[in-house]
Amino acid sequence: MARLPEFQGKRILAAAGIAVPRGEVARTPAEAQAAAERLGGAAVVKGQAWTTSRAGQGLIRFVATPEESAAAAAAILGLSVRSFPVTEVLVEERLAIATEHYAGIILDDRRGCPVALVSSRGGSGIEEIARAHPESVAELPFDVVEGLADHAARELWRRVGVRGQAQQRLAAAVVRLAEVARRVEARAAEVNPLVVTPEGRVVALDCRITVDDAAVFRHAELGIDVARELDHPPTRLERIAWEVERDDYRGTFYFLQMREQFARGDRVVAFHGAGGGGSMMAMDALQQQGFSVANFCDTSGNPPASKVYRAARILLSQPGVDAYFGSGSGVASQEQFHSARGLVKAFLEEPLAVPAVVRLGGNGEEKAIEILQGCAAELGVPVECYGKDTPVDTCTARLAELLAGFEPPPAQTRPPRPAPARPYAFRSPTGDITYDHAVCASCASKACVAACVPQILMLTDDGLPVLKVTVEEAARGRCTECLACEVDCHAHGDGGGRVDLPVAGLDDYRRSRGME
């Protein structure tokens, strides 16, 4: 939600000295009626939605009385944009307009600096204006530190033919807009239309501000709870995923839902990518096999196994998916067995009941493939894993073959894990690790000690695995949550080790979707 709603953007403009219409946010028809009364009766009622051409979709309505305001709000609050309902309207005073213009601050990837863009024409989209009336548009790159100079802003408006007092007032507005853009670290801040009233006032009738996702952490004042550039308000599952990412800086986990309403048999796939480029290529390949993806997901940048596990748990909390497909670039720099362990833990806990094909090419791929293939027999569903020499198109074709002959296994339930008889426990950075030393005592393999990637375990004289660093050191990050002490113990040992990695809100969500 790094896009700010219109009403929030207008508050920021007003605080920066750019005039906006008087108005109030309403969430019910009664509130909209009361707002119109306070505005004197006549008003404009505007649905708050991230879309262009709101007027054409019935999201903007002009009303003459408070009763009409209530009716307009009732109509708009029943609408949906891209299947997401409109939940707020902005009720504003109606202003007489003499001239309409456009002002925007955008970032130019070519020049690597901010650019002020203005047009003597406003109302319709700036790109349409630029195509139809190029002479009415002017732009000027400006210094990121110095900001937009007043004289430069006046010259911009002169170049598009605006003269006199309007030129000066519009220049002041675009200079302030540039300050707003810099202060909130916007990727784009646009006012369209920026109007001049018959009395000569300059007023922002609309406002679209998109804040840089990467800068949201230092803008608590904006109240952005999900720093993701989505084309819809964040879903519950997206919020759950965002909290995982927000609280764990190791590597990247990105999740967005492409669709929520689908059922078994629709060929909708839970998609787990790694790296933006490889993920896009994998989605192209899935599309060619007639699949669509329920979500986009990316775990990359050398994330710990725990993060990959949480991502997989979230992906598998989308009811109705027909398959699980994972693929990144195919030749990853990161050690792929971390991802394999994260996936195995998630698959076994679920337990996975659809076919899975995962392409984990790159460093450590032989080990990754061995770890992942190992869980297939236990699950009773096909789980296939490939490395860098198998192209992504081969993997998507394989998924189609597996699905064609697939018989869903009888529903399994996760047996509750018995409470440890002799627990030995410590904290990891984001979870809890528990050994049942009653089990470990008789375990022949002691697989955990050798497999532990950071090598923080040792055996006591009695052959029990314990930390060889302090519990504080483990919790602070010496334990890298490689998950070997659970996954390798499960595969090769007696199952005495377990790792609990909570995902806040996920159990509630799954219950609400009928999954628990």
Partner: protein, 298 residues
């Protein structure tokens, strides 16, 4: 030999005492990179695997003389200061590996680099690797992997995707197409050395015969490479793949930075511009190695 990094490049690592910095410094040295020193504020006087650590870049320069390159491994909120420090100390090329660096910070870094007359790569870059010479960043992950995956030759690679930089290098090498330098320009929209800059350097490099691009939807880098080809500024053959055909408008795919806004930066537009300028554009990634092999042999 190659561009941006070779066996003589004098390298500093900022953030060398951290988890990633330590691991990647080891990779760089094992691959043959001439790593001279590290820098971490407050940790001056320590060593990391025998590499001396200094409190500031200026101090490292006082002791060792100037650096050709600095690779920055610090968390995103600290990248701006680290980059400005490297630029102020006159380091010729600063490599910003960090992901999620605020874009207004990047623009401030770009401004400082412009006025100092130095370059930076990234942010959000896997780095640069010149085959058999040296690596800045983490391409390859492990030195033995980098040696096994990337074979020497005359093909330059510029990619907007980190993972696909390694993949492209690997599949080309496997198809018998050897490589000069692999460059991941960085996944963000505003970056230090975008594809047109990298392609211009490949044009000037006597050891590079042809150029492979891994492009993506969004932004204008591929279109600007097409302009260079059309104007004759770049005459070496170019073969390209553009990812993101299936992506829907208005959606940004994680740190790929790929976004389609109002028809700009579309898949079709990029393919058409490159083809019109004489580049070979393949429709699927699987076709890329063979298409590249034809360029080098002809």
């Amino acid at each position: 030999m190659a561009i941006l990094v070779d066996g003589t490049t004098r390298v500093l690592v900022q953030g060398i005492t951290g988890r990633e910095g330590r691991a990647r410094a080891a990779l760089m040295r094992e691959y043959g990179t001439r790593l001279i020193a590290g820098c971490t504020p407050g940790r001056g006087g320590e060593t990391v695997d025998g590499v001396p650590v200094y409190d500031t870049v200026a101090e490292a320069v006082e002791v060792h003389g100037g650096f050709d390159a600095s690779v920055v491994y610090v968390p995103a909120p600290l990248v701006k200061d680290a980059a400005l420090e490297s630029i102020a100390a006159g380091v010729g090329l600063t490599v910003l590996v960090g992901d999620r660096v605020p874009v207004w910070d990047v623009m401030a870094i770009a401004r400082a680099a412009r006025s100092a007359g130095v370059d930076f790569i990234g942010p959000n870059t896997l780095g640069v690797l010149s085959v058999g010479e040296g690596v800045l960043g983490m391409i390859g992950g492990r030195a033995e992997s980098a040696r096994a995956w990337f074979k020497p030759g005359t093909m330059g690679v510029a990619s907007r995707s980190g993972g696909m930089t390694s993949s492209t290098g690997y599949y080309l090498s496997r198809a018998g197409v050897g490589l000069s330098t692999l460059v991941h320009v960085g996944g963000d929209s505003i970056i230090g050395l975008p594809m047109p800059e990298v392609v211009t350097r490949f044009q000037a490099d006597p050891d590079t015969e042809a150029i492979v691009l891994f492009g993506e939807i969004g932004g204008s880098q591929e279109e600007r490479v097409a302009e260079l080809l059309a104007s004759g500024a770049v005459t070496k053959p170019v073969v390209a793949y553009i990812g993101g055909r299936a992506a829907t408008s208005g959606v940004r795919f994680s740190h790929a930075g790929a976004i389609v806004e109002g028809g700009r930066g579309t898949h079709e537009g990029k393919v058409a511009a490159l083809r019109a300028a004489g580049a070979v554009v393949v429709d699927t990634f699987a076709e890329l190695p063979a298409a590249a092999a034809r360029l080098v042999r002809s």
